[in-house]
Protein backbone atom coordinates (compact mmCIF):
# COMPACT_ATOMS: atom_id res chain seq x y z
CA UNK A 1 0.00 0.00 0.00
CA UNK A 2 1.20 3.49 -0.84
CA UNK A 3 1.15 5.35 2.47
CA UNK A 4 2.54 8.48 0.89
CA UNK A 5 -0.40 8.67 -1.48
CA UNK A 6 -2.82 7.92 1.36
CA UNK A 7 -1.45 10.75 3.48
CA UNK A 8 -1.56 13.09 0.52
CA UNK A 9 -5.23 12.24 0.02
CA UNK A 10 -5.93 12.81 3.70
CA UNK A 11 -4.16 16.16 3.60
CA UNK A 12 -5.98 17.22 0.44
CA UNK A 13 -9.35 16.37 1.96
CA UNK A 14 -8.60 17.96 5.34
CA UNK A 15 -7.78 21.29 3.72
CA UNK A 16 -10.41 20.95 1.02
CA UNK A 17 -13.71 22.73 0.40
CA UNK A 18 -15.80 20.06 2.12
CA UNK A 19 -13.88 20.47 5.37
CA UNK A 20 -14.09 24.26 5.01
CA UNK A 21 -17.84 24.15 4.33
CA UNK A 22 -18.46 21.94 7.34
CA UNK A 23 -16.21 24.07 9.53
CA UNK A 24 -18.26 27.15 8.64
CA UNK A 25 -21.54 25.31 9.19
CA UNK A 26 -20.28 24.02 12.55
CA UNK A 27 -19.15 27.51 13.57
CA UNK A 28 -22.73 28.61 12.91
CA UNK A 29 -24.16 25.69 14.82
CA UNK A 30 -21.80 26.53 17.68
CA UNK A 31 -23.38 29.98 17.93
CA UNK A 32 -26.76 28.27 18.10
CA UNK A 33 -26.01 25.41 20.41
CA UNK A 34 -22.67 25.97 22.11
CA UNK A 35 -23.32 29.59 22.93
CA UNK A 36 -27.09 29.97 23.16
CA UNK A 37 -28.36 26.44 23.71
CA UNK A 38 -30.62 26.49 20.65
CA UNK A 39 -31.12 23.10 19.05
CA UNK A 40 -31.05 23.61 15.30
CA UNK A 41 -31.61 20.32 13.51
CA UNK A 42 -31.72 21.93 10.09
CA UNK A 43 -28.31 23.49 9.52
CA UNK A 44 -28.22 21.74 6.12
CA UNK A 45 -31.29 23.77 5.17
CA UNK A 46 -29.36 27.00 5.78
CA UNK A 47 -26.46 25.63 3.71
CA UNK A 48 -28.74 24.63 0.86
CA UNK A 49 -30.48 27.99 0.86
CA UNK A 50 -27.12 29.74 0.77
CA UNK A 51 -26.08 27.53 -2.14
CA UNK A 52 -29.28 28.20 -4.08
CA UNK A 53 -29.14 31.89 -3.28
CA UNK A 54 -25.60 32.14 -4.63
CA UNK A 55 -26.06 29.93 -7.69
CA UNK A 56 -29.48 31.14 -8.79
CA UNK A 57 -28.60 34.81 -8.48
CA UNK A 58 -25.29 34.29 -10.30
CA UNK A 59 -27.06 32.50 -13.14
CA UNK A 60 -29.52 35.39 -13.25
CA UNK A 61 -26.55 37.68 -13.87
CA UNK A 62 -25.71 39.02 -10.41
CA UNK A 63 -22.10 40.01 -9.73
CA UNK A 64 -20.09 38.03 -7.16
CA UNK A 65 -20.67 40.36 -4.20
CA UNK A 66 -24.42 40.47 -4.84
CA UNK A 67 -24.59 36.68 -5.10
CA UNK A 68 -22.93 36.42 -1.67
CA UNK A 69 -25.40 38.95 -0.28
CA UNK A 70 -28.32 36.99 -1.69
CA UNK A 71 -27.00 33.81 -0.05
CA UNK A 72 -26.71 35.63 3.29
CA UNK A 73 -30.09 37.28 2.86
CA UNK A 74 -31.74 33.92 2.18
CA UNK A 75 -30.36 32.58 5.46
CA UNK A 76 -31.50 35.65 7.38
CA UNK A 77 -35.04 35.36 6.05
CA UNK A 78 -35.10 31.62 6.72
CA UNK A 79 -33.89 32.17 10.30
CA UNK A 80 -36.56 34.80 10.90
CA UNK A 81 -39.31 32.60 9.50
CA UNK A 82 -38.21 29.73 11.74
CA UNK A 83 -37.38 31.80 14.80
CA UNK A 84 -40.15 34.35 15.09
CA UNK A 85 -42.92 31.83 15.83
CA UNK A 86 -40.87 29.24 17.75
CA UNK A 87 -38.32 31.05 19.90
CA UNK A 88 -40.97 32.15 22.38
CA UNK A 89 -41.76 28.50 22.98
CA UNK A 90 -39.60 25.94 24.77
CA UNK A 91 -36.48 24.69 23.03
CA UNK A 92 -37.83 21.45 21.59
CA UNK A 93 -40.10 23.30 19.19
CA UNK A 94 -37.19 24.87 17.38
CA UNK A 95 -35.61 21.44 16.88
CA UNK A 96 -38.77 20.03 15.36
CA UNK A 97 -39.43 23.03 13.17
CA UNK A 98 -35.87 23.29 11.86
CA UNK A 99 -35.64 19.63 10.92
CA UNK A 100 -38.93 19.89 9.03
CA UNK A 101 -38.07 23.22 7.40
CA UNK A 102 -34.72 21.96 6.12
CA UNK A 103 -36.51 19.02 4.54
CA UNK A 104 -39.04 21.38 2.97
CA UNK A 105 -36.23 23.44 1.43
CA UNK A 106 -34.71 20.29 0.00
CA UNK A 107 -38.03 18.98 -1.33
CA UNK A 108 -38.95 22.28 -2.91
CA UNK A 109 -35.47 22.60 -4.39
CA UNK A 110 -35.67 19.24 -6.11
CA UNK A 111 -39.33 19.47 -7.13
CA UNK A 112 -40.03 19.41 -10.86
CA UNK A 113 -42.15 22.54 -10.60
CA UNK A 114 -39.02 24.60 -10.05
CA UNK A 115 -36.79 22.90 -12.61
CA UNK A 116 -36.41 26.19 -14.49
CA UNK A 117 -34.80 27.86 -11.47
CA UNK A 118 -33.23 25.19 -9.28
CA UNK A 119 -32.67 22.50 -11.87
CA UNK A 120 -35.01 20.12 -10.02
CA UNK A 121 -33.47 16.91 -8.76
CA UNK A 122 -30.68 17.20 -11.34
CA UNK A 123 -29.56 20.41 -9.68
CA UNK A 124 -27.40 23.16 -11.15
CA UNK A 125 -24.11 22.16 -12.72
CA UNK A 126 -21.05 23.85 -11.34
CA UNK A 127 -20.10 25.49 -14.62
CA UNK A 128 -23.36 27.41 -14.70
CA UNK A 129 -22.45 29.55 -11.63
CA UNK A 130 -18.74 29.24 -10.87
CA UNK A 131 -17.43 31.67 -13.44
CA UNK A 132 -17.81 34.91 -11.43
CA UNK A 133 -15.98 33.38 -8.49
CA UNK A 134 -13.18 31.95 -10.60
CA UNK A 135 -12.83 35.15 -12.64
CA UNK A 136 -12.30 37.06 -9.41
CA UNK A 137 -9.15 35.08 -8.75
CA UNK A 138 -5.87 36.97 -9.12
CA UNK A 139 -4.04 33.67 -9.77
CA UNK A 140 -3.04 32.60 -13.31
CA UNK A 141 -4.82 29.52 -14.64
CA UNK A 142 -2.37 26.75 -13.87
CA UNK A 143 -1.70 23.77 -11.64
CA UNK A 144 0.45 24.41 -8.61
CA UNK A 145 2.04 22.01 -6.19
CA UNK A 146 2.51 22.79 -2.51
CA UNK A 147 4.32 19.94 -0.84
CA UNK A 148 2.64 16.75 -1.94
CA UNK A 149 -0.63 18.47 -2.87
CA UNK A 150 -1.09 19.48 -6.50
CA UNK A 151 -4.23 21.37 -7.48
CA UNK A 152 -5.61 23.66 -10.15
CA UNK A 153 -5.23 27.29 -9.22
CA UNK A 154 -8.76 28.37 -10.07
CA UNK A 155 -11.01 25.57 -11.32
CA UNK A 156 -13.47 23.93 -8.86
CA UNK A 157 -11.55 22.27 -6.01
CA UNK A 158 -8.78 24.82 -6.35
CA UNK A 159 -6.17 26.77 -4.45
CA UNK A 160 -8.25 29.88 -4.97
CA UNK A 161 -11.31 28.31 -3.33
CA UNK A 162 -9.15 27.14 -0.44
CA UNK A 163 -7.61 30.55 0.08
CA UNK A 164 -11.01 32.23 0.14
CA UNK A 165 -12.54 29.43 2.19
CA UNK A 166 -9.90 29.40 4.90
CA UNK A 167 -9.92 33.18 5.02
CA UNK A 168 -13.65 32.99 5.68
CA UNK A 169 -13.07 30.42 8.42
CA UNK A 170 -10.39 32.58 10.00
CA UNK A 171 -12.60 35.66 9.93
CA UNK A 172 -15.50 33.67 11.34
CA UNK A 173 -13.32 32.42 14.21
CA UNK A 174 -12.10 35.94 15.00
CA UNK A 175 -15.68 37.18 14.91
CA UNK A 176 -16.90 34.45 17.26
CA UNK A 177 -13.88 34.89 19.52
CA UNK A 178 -14.65 38.60 19.88
CA UNK A 179 -18.33 37.98 20.52
CA UNK A 180 -17.86 35.12 22.98
CA UNK A 181 -15.78 37.37 25.21
CA UNK A 182 -18.15 40.32 24.98
CA UNK A 183 -21.16 41.18 27.14
CA UNK A 184 -23.32 40.10 24.19
CA UNK A 185 -21.85 36.61 24.36
CA UNK A 186 -22.35 36.63 28.11
CA UNK A 187 -26.08 37.19 27.68
CA UNK A 188 -26.22 34.28 25.20
CA UNK A 189 -24.45 31.99 27.65
CA UNK A 190 -26.85 33.10 30.35
CA UNK A 191 -29.74 32.12 28.08
CA UNK A 192 -28.12 28.74 27.49
CA UNK A 193 -28.01 28.18 31.25
CA UNK A 194 -31.43 29.47 32.26
CA UNK A 195 -33.44 31.87 30.17
CA UNK A 196 -35.85 32.80 32.95
CA UNK A 197 -32.97 33.99 35.10
CA UNK A 198 -31.77 36.19 32.26
CA UNK A 199 -35.27 37.54 31.74
CA UNK A 200 -35.45 38.39 35.42
CA UNK A 201 -32.32 40.49 34.91
CA UNK A 202 -34.02 42.61 32.28
CA UNK A 203 -32.66 41.14 29.04
CA UNK A 204 -34.90 40.58 26.04
CA UNK A 205 -34.25 36.87 25.66
CA UNK A 206 -36.38 36.50 22.51
CA UNK A 207 -34.42 39.12 20.64
CA UNK A 208 -31.07 37.59 21.62
CA UNK A 209 -32.16 34.12 20.57
CA UNK A 210 -33.30 35.51 17.24
CA UNK A 211 -29.97 37.26 16.72
CA UNK A 212 -28.11 34.04 17.47
CA UNK A 213 -30.28 32.01 15.11
CA UNK A 214 -29.77 34.49 12.27
CA UNK A 215 -26.03 34.78 12.81
CA UNK A 216 -25.43 31.03 12.98
CA UNK A 217 -27.63 30.52 9.95
CA UNK A 218 -25.58 33.01 7.94
CA UNK A 219 -22.41 31.02 8.64
CA UNK A 220 -24.30 27.93 7.52
CA UNK A 221 -25.19 29.66 4.25
CA UNK A 222 -21.56 30.68 3.66
CA UNK A 223 -20.58 27.06 4.24
CA UNK A 224 -23.15 26.05 1.65
CA UNK A 225 -21.66 28.43 -0.90
CA UNK A 226 -18.15 27.04 -0.39
CA UNK A 227 -19.56 23.53 -0.59
CA UNK A 228 -21.13 24.01 -4.00
CA UNK A 229 -18.32 26.11 -5.46
CA UNK A 230 -16.29 22.90 -5.47
CA UNK A 231 -18.99 20.81 -7.09
CA UNK A 232 -22.59 21.56 -8.06
CA UNK A 233 -25.85 22.49 -6.36
CA UNK A 234 -27.73 19.29 -5.76
CA UNK A 235 -30.52 19.34 -3.19
CA UNK A 236 -29.89 15.81 -1.97
CA UNK A 237 -26.21 16.46 -1.32
CA UNK A 238 -27.26 18.89 1.45
CA UNK A 239 -29.83 16.75 3.22
CA UNK A 240 -30.27 15.45 6.77
CA UNK A 241 -26.94 13.57 6.90
CA UNK A 242 -25.16 16.89 6.45
CA UNK A 243 -26.90 18.29 9.53
CA UNK A 244 -25.96 15.24 11.57
CA UNK A 245 -22.34 15.36 10.38
CA UNK A 246 -22.22 19.01 11.37
CA UNK A 247 -23.45 18.14 14.85
CA UNK A 248 -20.88 15.37 15.09
CA UNK A 249 -18.13 17.76 14.07
CA UNK A 250 -19.22 20.31 16.65
CA UNK A 251 -19.34 17.79 19.48
CA UNK A 252 -16.08 16.21 18.35
CA UNK A 253 -14.16 19.48 18.40
CA UNK A 254 -15.92 20.80 21.49
CA UNK A 255 -19.07 22.91 21.68
CA UNK A 256 -18.77 26.42 23.14
CA UNK A 257 -15.10 26.66 22.14
CA UNK A 258 -13.92 28.98 19.39
CA UNK A 259 -11.69 26.56 17.47
CA UNK A 260 -13.59 23.36 18.23
CA UNK A 261 -15.73 23.40 15.07
CA UNK A 262 -12.66 23.89 12.86
CA UNK A 263 -10.61 21.18 14.53
CA UNK A 264 -13.64 18.89 14.48
CA UNK A 265 -14.09 19.33 10.75
CA UNK A 266 -10.39 18.72 9.99
CA UNK A 267 -10.33 15.53 12.04
CA UNK A 268 -13.67 14.27 10.82
CA UNK A 269 -12.80 14.48 7.14
CA UNK A 270 -9.19 13.47 7.66
CA UNK A 271 -10.22 10.36 9.58
CA UNK A 272 -12.90 9.41 7.08
CA UNK A 273 -10.57 9.58 4.10
CA UNK A 274 -7.83 7.79 6.00
CA UNK A 275 -10.04 4.88 7.01
CA UNK A 276 -11.42 4.47 3.51
CA UNK A 277 -8.05 4.74 1.83
CA UNK A 278 -6.50 2.36 4.33
CA UNK A 279 -9.20 -0.28 3.84
CA UNK A 280 -9.01 0.03 0.10
CA UNK A 281 -5.28 -0.53 0.19
CA UNK A 282 -5.15 -3.19 2.90
CA UNK A 283 -8.18 -5.34 2.05
CA UNK A 284 -8.35 -7.07 -1.33
CA UNK A 285 -11.16 -5.87 -3.58
CA UNK A 286 -12.84 -9.29 -3.74
CA UNK A 287 -13.32 -9.27 0.05
CA UNK A 288 -14.72 -5.74 0.30
CA UNK A 289 -16.10 -3.90 -2.70
CA UNK A 290 -15.41 -0.21 -3.12
CA UNK A 291 -18.95 0.51 -2.01
CA UNK A 292 -18.58 -1.58 1.15
CA UNK A 293 -15.35 0.20 1.99
CA UNK A 294 -17.23 3.47 1.73
CA UNK A 295 -19.83 2.24 4.21
CA UNK A 296 -17.32 0.68 6.58
CA UNK A 297 -15.59 4.04 6.62
CA UNK A 298 -18.73 5.59 8.06
CA UNK A 299 -19.16 2.73 10.53
CA UNK A 300 -15.64 3.11 11.87
CA UNK A 301 -16.00 6.86 12.15
CA UNK A 302 -19.21 6.25 14.07
CA UNK A 303 -17.52 3.86 16.48
CA UNK A 304 -14.65 6.25 17.03
CA UNK A 305 -17.14 8.96 17.84
CA UNK A 306 -19.01 6.77 20.30
CA UNK A 307 -15.74 6.06 22.07
CA UNK A 308 -14.94 9.74 22.08
CA UNK A 309 -18.30 10.67 23.55
CA UNK A 310 -17.84 8.04 26.25
CA UNK A 311 -14.28 8.93 27.17
CA UNK A 312 -14.17 12.62 26.29
CA UNK A 313 -17.73 13.90 26.22
CA UNK A 314 -16.75 17.55 26.26
CA UNK A 315 -15.05 17.17 22.87
CA UNK A 316 -11.37 17.63 22.15
CA UNK A 317 -11.09 21.29 23.12
CA UNK A 318 -13.93 21.41 25.63
CA UNK A 319 -13.54 22.07 29.33
CA UNK A 320 -14.15 18.96 31.37
CA UNK A 321 -15.01 20.98 34.46
CA UNK A 322 -17.76 22.81 32.63
CA UNK A 323 -19.35 19.55 31.58
CA UNK A 324 -19.17 18.00 35.01
CA UNK A 325 -21.19 20.86 36.39
CA UNK A 326 -23.83 20.40 33.75
CA UNK A 327 -24.27 16.81 34.86
CA UNK A 328 -25.11 17.81 38.42
Amino acid sequence: MDFGQLLTNVLTEMTGPTAIAYALAAIGLNIHFGLTGLINMGQAGFMLLGAYGFAVSTIAGAPLWLAFLVAIGAAVVFALILGLPTLKLRGDYLAIVTIAAAEIVRMVGRSTALTEITGGSEGLTGNSFKSTFQDASPLPDDRWALGPVTLATNASNSWWLRIVGWTLVLLACLFVWRLVRSPWGRVLRGIREDEDAVRALGKNVYSYKLQALVLGGVFGALGGVVFVLASSVQADSLGRPVTFNTWTILLLGGAATVLGPVLGSLLFWGALVFVRGFLRGAVPADVLSVQQVEQIGWVLVGITLILLIVFRPQGILGDKKELAINAR
Binding site: S182, R186, R189, A200, N204
Partner: protein, 313 residues
Protein backbone atom coordinates in the same frame (compact mmCIF):
# COMPACT_ATOMS: atom_id res chain seq x y z
CA UNK B 1 -34.22 65.06 51.82
CA UNK B 2 -31.58 62.54 52.96
CA UNK B 3 -32.42 58.87 52.46
CA UNK B 4 -32.74 58.09 56.19
CA UNK B 5 -35.35 60.76 56.66
CA UNK B 6 -37.32 59.48 53.68
CA UNK B 7 -37.25 55.98 55.13
CA UNK B 8 -38.17 57.22 58.60
CA UNK B 9 -41.06 59.17 57.24
CA UNK B 10 -42.27 56.21 55.16
CA UNK B 11 -42.13 53.94 58.20
CA UNK B 12 -43.81 56.43 60.48
CA UNK B 13 -46.60 57.05 58.01
CA UNK B 14 -47.49 53.36 58.26
CA UNK B 15 -48.51 53.78 61.92
CA UNK B 16 -51.66 55.53 60.87
CA UNK B 17 -52.63 52.92 58.30
CA UNK B 18 -55.60 50.73 59.21
CA UNK B 19 -54.95 47.05 59.85
CA UNK B 20 -57.36 45.75 57.24
CA UNK B 21 -56.48 43.62 54.19
CA UNK B 22 -56.03 45.70 51.07
CA UNK B 23 -55.75 48.99 52.95
CA UNK B 24 -54.41 51.96 50.92
CA UNK B 25 -50.91 53.19 51.83
CA UNK B 26 -49.77 56.81 51.95
CA UNK B 27 -47.04 56.35 49.32
CA UNK B 28 -47.53 53.08 47.42
CA UNK B 29 -44.91 51.81 44.95
CA UNK B 30 -46.83 48.78 43.75
CA UNK B 31 -50.63 48.69 43.57
CA UNK B 32 -52.40 45.51 42.51
CA UNK B 33 -56.11 45.40 41.69
CA UNK B 34 -58.33 42.36 41.23
CA UNK B 35 -55.45 40.08 40.32
CA UNK B 36 -56.69 36.53 39.88
CA UNK B 37 -54.97 33.43 38.64
CA UNK B 38 -56.44 29.96 38.78
CA UNK B 39 -54.89 26.64 37.92
CA UNK B 40 -57.57 24.19 36.85
CA UNK B 41 -60.30 25.65 39.03
CA UNK B 42 -58.10 26.31 42.07
CA UNK B 43 -57.63 29.99 42.76
CA UNK B 44 -53.89 30.21 43.33
CA UNK B 45 -54.05 34.00 43.59
CA UNK B 46 -57.14 36.08 44.22
CA UNK B 47 -56.00 39.48 45.45
CA UNK B 48 -58.69 42.17 45.48
CA UNK B 49 -56.42 45.02 46.32
CA UNK B 50 -52.90 45.27 47.66
CA UNK B 51 -50.54 48.20 48.04
CA UNK B 52 -46.86 48.01 48.83
CA UNK B 53 -45.49 51.04 50.58
CA UNK B 54 -42.41 52.71 49.11
CA UNK B 55 -39.11 52.79 51.06
CA UNK B 56 -40.02 50.13 53.60
CA UNK B 57 -39.52 46.39 53.99
CA UNK B 58 -42.72 44.46 53.46
CA UNK B 59 -42.92 40.77 54.28
CA UNK B 60 -45.34 38.46 52.50
CA UNK B 61 -46.12 35.43 54.60
CA UNK B 62 -48.58 32.58 54.46
CA UNK B 63 -48.76 28.79 54.48
CA UNK B 64 -47.36 26.59 51.74
CA UNK B 65 -49.43 26.92 48.60
CA UNK B 66 -50.90 30.26 49.70
CA UNK B 67 -50.01 31.77 46.33
CA UNK B 68 -47.03 33.92 47.32
CA UNK B 69 -44.73 32.70 44.56
CA UNK B 70 -47.54 32.82 42.03
CA UNK B 71 -48.21 36.42 43.05
CA UNK B 72 -44.53 37.24 42.47
CA UNK B 73 -44.68 35.52 39.09
CA UNK B 74 -47.72 37.54 38.08
CA UNK B 75 -46.31 40.89 39.18
CA UNK B 76 -43.00 40.32 37.39
CA UNK B 77 -44.43 39.09 34.08
CA UNK B 78 -43.43 35.45 34.46
CA UNK B 79 -47.07 34.40 34.49
CA UNK B 80 -50.25 35.96 33.14
CA UNK B 81 -53.29 36.51 35.39
CA UNK B 82 -56.84 35.63 34.32
CA UNK B 83 -57.91 39.13 35.26
CA UNK B 84 -56.42 42.09 37.06
CA UNK B 85 -54.16 45.08 36.68
CA UNK B 86 -51.27 46.52 38.61
CA UNK B 87 -49.29 49.69 38.60
CA UNK B 88 -45.62 49.94 39.51
CA UNK B 89 -44.15 53.35 40.21
CA UNK B 90 -46.91 54.97 38.19
CA UNK B 91 -46.59 52.62 35.19
CA UNK B 92 -49.22 49.96 34.48
CA UNK B 93 -47.36 46.68 34.07
CA UNK B 94 -50.19 44.28 33.23
CA UNK B 95 -49.21 42.16 30.22
CA UNK B 96 -45.69 43.57 30.10
CA UNK B 97 -42.88 41.10 29.34
CA UNK B 98 -40.70 39.95 32.24
CA UNK B 99 -37.56 41.58 30.89
CA UNK B 100 -39.31 44.95 30.59
CA UNK B 101 -40.63 44.63 34.13
CA UNK B 102 -37.08 44.14 35.36
CA UNK B 103 -35.91 47.11 33.29
CA UNK B 104 -38.64 49.21 34.90
CA UNK B 105 -36.92 48.58 38.25
CA UNK B 106 -38.86 45.65 39.72
CA UNK B 107 -36.36 42.80 40.05
CA UNK B 108 -37.12 39.43 41.62
CA UNK B 109 -35.28 36.35 42.78
CA UNK B 110 -36.59 32.81 42.58
CA UNK B 111 -37.58 30.44 45.34
CA UNK B 112 -35.82 27.66 43.42
CA UNK B 113 -32.53 29.37 42.73
CA UNK B 114 -31.51 30.00 39.18
CA UNK B 115 -27.75 30.26 39.31
CA UNK B 116 -26.28 30.19 35.80
CA UNK B 117 -24.32 27.04 36.50
CA UNK B 118 -21.67 27.00 33.77
CA UNK B 119 -20.76 30.64 34.20
CA UNK B 120 -18.47 31.94 36.88
CA UNK B 121 -19.79 33.75 39.92
CA UNK B 122 -18.38 37.02 38.61
CA UNK B 123 -20.00 36.54 35.20
CA UNK B 124 -23.30 35.87 36.92
CA UNK B 125 -22.94 39.18 38.68
CA UNK B 126 -21.96 41.13 35.58
CA UNK B 127 -25.00 39.81 33.77
CA UNK B 128 -27.18 41.54 36.34
CA UNK B 129 -25.89 45.01 35.46
CA UNK B 130 -27.82 47.41 33.30
CA UNK B 131 -26.68 49.87 30.61
CA UNK B 132 -23.83 47.76 29.28
CA UNK B 133 -23.54 48.92 25.64
CA UNK B 134 -21.61 45.74 24.83
CA UNK B 135 -24.80 43.77 25.13
CA UNK B 136 -25.66 45.06 21.68
CA UNK B 137 -24.36 42.79 18.91
CA UNK B 138 -22.63 45.51 16.93
CA UNK B 139 -21.15 47.41 19.85
CA UNK B 140 -19.89 44.11 21.22
CA UNK B 141 -17.46 43.83 18.30
CA UNK B 142 -15.59 46.99 19.31
CA UNK B 143 -14.17 46.46 22.78
CA UNK B 144 -13.23 50.08 23.54
CA UNK B 145 -16.93 50.95 23.33
CA UNK B 146 -17.84 48.76 26.27
CA UNK B 147 -14.64 48.16 28.22
CA UNK B 148 -14.96 51.25 30.49
CA UNK B 149 -18.49 50.30 31.54
CA UNK B 150 -17.31 46.73 32.05
CA UNK B 151 -14.74 47.97 34.57
CA UNK B 152 -17.38 49.87 36.51
CA UNK B 153 -19.61 46.81 36.49
CA UNK B 154 -16.79 44.59 37.71
CA UNK B 155 -15.95 46.94 40.57
CA UNK B 156 -19.55 47.04 41.63
CA UNK B 157 -19.84 43.26 41.37
CA UNK B 158 -16.76 42.77 43.54
CA UNK B 159 -18.10 45.13 46.17
CA UNK B 160 -21.38 43.24 46.32
CA UNK B 161 -19.65 39.86 46.36
CA UNK B 162 -17.56 41.00 49.28
CA UNK B 163 -20.66 42.03 51.13
CA UNK B 164 -22.21 38.62 50.51
CA UNK B 165 -18.98 36.78 51.40
CA UNK B 166 -18.64 35.33 47.93
CA UNK B 167 -15.58 37.25 46.76
CA UNK B 168 -13.27 34.28 47.24
CA UNK B 169 -15.49 32.30 44.88
CA UNK B 170 -15.58 34.82 42.07
CA UNK B 171 -13.84 32.61 39.51
CA UNK B 172 -15.66 29.39 40.41
CA UNK B 173 -18.53 28.14 38.32
CA UNK B 174 -21.83 29.09 39.93
CA UNK B 175 -22.87 25.47 39.58
CA UNK B 176 -20.20 24.47 42.07
CA UNK B 177 -21.66 26.64 44.85
CA UNK B 178 -23.67 25.19 47.70
CA UNK B 179 -27.41 25.73 47.87
CA UNK B 180 -27.13 28.58 50.37
CA UNK B 181 -24.35 30.24 48.42
CA UNK B 182 -26.51 30.14 45.31
CA UNK B 183 -29.25 31.97 47.20
CA UNK B 184 -26.75 34.62 48.15
CA UNK B 185 -25.45 34.88 44.60
CA UNK B 186 -28.92 35.28 43.20
CA UNK B 187 -29.71 38.02 45.64
CA UNK B 188 -26.46 39.83 44.96
CA UNK B 189 -27.04 39.50 41.22
CA UNK B 190 -30.48 41.06 41.52
CA UNK B 191 -28.91 44.04 43.28
CA UNK B 192 -26.51 44.71 40.40
CA UNK B 193 -29.14 46.74 38.57
CA UNK B 194 -30.00 49.01 41.54
CA UNK B 195 -33.68 48.05 41.47
CA UNK B 196 -36.38 50.32 42.86
CA UNK B 197 -38.24 47.32 44.23
CA UNK B 198 -36.50 44.05 44.93
CA UNK B 199 -38.71 41.02 45.43
CA UNK B 200 -37.01 38.18 47.27
CA UNK B 201 -38.64 34.76 47.33
CA UNK B 202 -37.43 33.05 50.52
CA UNK B 203 -33.97 34.65 50.53
CA UNK B 204 -32.90 32.96 53.75
CA UNK B 205 -33.94 29.40 53.02
CA UNK B 206 -30.80 27.33 53.48
CA UNK B 207 -28.57 30.16 54.66
CA UNK B 208 -26.73 29.45 57.92
CA UNK B 209 -27.69 31.43 61.05
CA UNK B 210 -24.49 33.47 61.32
CA UNK B 211 -24.81 34.64 57.75
CA UNK B 212 -28.54 35.23 58.13
CA UNK B 213 -27.69 37.83 60.75
CA UNK B 214 -25.44 39.75 58.42
CA UNK B 215 -27.85 39.34 55.52
CA UNK B 216 -30.60 40.87 57.59
CA UNK B 217 -28.24 43.78 58.00
CA UNK B 218 -27.80 44.00 54.22
CA UNK B 219 -31.51 44.00 53.63
CA UNK B 220 -32.10 46.82 56.09
CA UNK B 221 -29.15 48.64 54.49
CA UNK B 222 -30.89 48.28 51.17
CA UNK B 223 -33.95 49.91 52.57
CA UNK B 224 -31.94 52.65 54.18
CA UNK B 225 -30.32 53.49 50.85
CA UNK B 226 -33.66 53.87 49.13
CA UNK B 227 -34.57 50.41 47.80
CA UNK B 228 -38.02 49.08 48.56
CA UNK B 229 -38.03 45.43 49.60
CA UNK B 230 -40.82 42.88 49.33
CA UNK B 231 -39.89 39.41 50.52
CA UNK B 232 -41.47 36.05 51.14
CA UNK B 233 -40.21 34.19 54.17
CA UNK B 234 -41.26 31.37 56.43
CA UNK B 235 -38.77 32.22 59.15
CA UNK B 236 -40.95 34.28 61.51
CA UNK B 237 -37.97 35.35 63.51
CA UNK B 238 -36.55 37.11 60.51
CA UNK B 239 -39.89 38.57 59.52
CA UNK B 240 -40.36 40.03 62.97
CA UNK B 241 -36.81 41.31 63.04
CA UNK B 242 -36.60 43.34 59.86
CA UNK B 243 -39.98 43.96 58.28
CA UNK B 244 -41.88 47.21 58.67
CA UNK B 245 -45.11 45.77 57.41
CA UNK B 246 -46.43 42.23 57.02
CA UNK B 247 -48.99 40.97 54.52
CA UNK B 248 -50.54 37.57 55.17
CA UNK B 249 -51.82 35.45 52.32
CA UNK B 250 -53.88 32.29 52.55
CA UNK B 251 -55.51 30.39 49.72
CA UNK B 252 -54.63 33.11 47.28
CA UNK B 253 -56.18 35.96 49.25
CA UNK B 254 -54.72 38.70 51.39
CA UNK B 255 -56.21 37.88 54.78
CA UNK B 256 -54.40 40.28 57.07
CA UNK B 257 -51.82 43.00 57.09
CA UNK B 258 -50.20 45.23 59.64
CA UNK B 259 -46.96 45.82 61.55
CA UNK B 260 -45.11 42.56 62.38
CA UNK B 261 -45.77 42.69 66.12
CA UNK B 262 -49.51 43.01 65.73
CA UNK B 263 -49.95 40.62 62.82
CA UNK B 264 -47.96 37.89 64.48
CA UNK B 265 -49.77 38.19 67.75
CA UNK B 266 -52.92 37.62 65.78
CA UNK B 267 -54.30 34.23 66.65
CA UNK B 268 -55.99 33.81 63.28
CA UNK B 269 -52.71 34.34 61.52
CA UNK B 270 -50.95 31.88 63.76
CA UNK B 271 -53.63 29.34 63.11
CA UNK B 272 -53.63 29.96 59.39
CA UNK B 273 -49.95 29.31 59.42
CA UNK B 274 -50.29 26.17 61.44
CA UNK B 275 -52.98 25.10 59.04
CA UNK B 276 -55.59 24.28 61.67
CA UNK B 277 -58.11 26.53 59.98
CA UNK B 278 -57.74 25.67 56.38
CA UNK B 279 -61.47 26.05 55.87
CA UNK B 280 -62.13 28.96 58.18
CA UNK B 281 -62.66 32.23 56.38
CA UNK B 282 -59.67 34.18 57.60
CA UNK B 283 -60.89 37.21 55.71
CA UNK B 284 -63.57 37.54 58.35
CA UNK B 285 -62.59 40.41 60.62
CA UNK B 286 -64.56 39.03 63.53
CA UNK B 287 -62.13 36.15 63.73
CA UNK B 288 -59.19 38.50 63.82
CA UNK B 289 -60.60 40.20 66.91
CA UNK B 290 -61.49 37.06 68.76
CA UNK B 291 -58.29 35.13 68.61
CA UNK B 292 -59.03 33.34 71.85
CA UNK B 293 -62.16 31.75 70.53
CA UNK B 294 -60.27 30.18 67.73
CA UNK B 295 -58.20 27.87 69.93
CA UNK B 296 -61.27 26.22 71.29
CA UNK B 297 -62.75 26.20 67.85
CA UNK B 298 -59.66 24.55 66.47
CA UNK B 299 -60.03 21.63 68.80
CA UNK B 300 -63.69 21.30 68.00
CA UNK B 301 -62.91 21.46 64.38
CA UNK B 302 -60.22 18.84 64.57
CA UNK B 303 -62.72 16.52 66.17
CA UNK B 304 -65.37 17.36 63.62
CA UNK B 305 -62.91 16.64 60.91
CA UNK B 306 -62.07 13.27 62.35
CA UNK B 307 -65.80 12.56 62.37
CA UNK B 308 -66.33 13.49 58.76
CA UNK B 309 -63.33 11.37 57.79
CA UNK B 310 -65.06 8.40 59.34
CA UNK B 311 -68.36 9.18 57.69
CA UNK B 312 -66.83 9.36 54.23
CA UNK B 313 -67.48 6.20 52.23
Amino acid sequence: MPAEQVVDQARRSLHAVARTPGVPKPDPLLVADGVRRSFGGVNAVDVDHLEVQKHVITALIGPNGAGKTTFFNLMTGFDRPDTGSWVFDGTPLGGVAASRVAKAGMVRTFQLTKALARMTVLENMRLGARDQPGENLFTALVKPLWAPREREITDKAMALLERFKLDAKKDDFAGSLSGGQRKLLEMARALMSDPTLVMLDEPMAGVNPALTQSLLGHITDLRDTGTTVLFVEHDMHMVRHISDWVVVMAQGQVVAEGPPGEVMADQAVIDAYLGAHHDTDLGDDALLDEGGVIDAEAEAEAEAEADTEEKKP
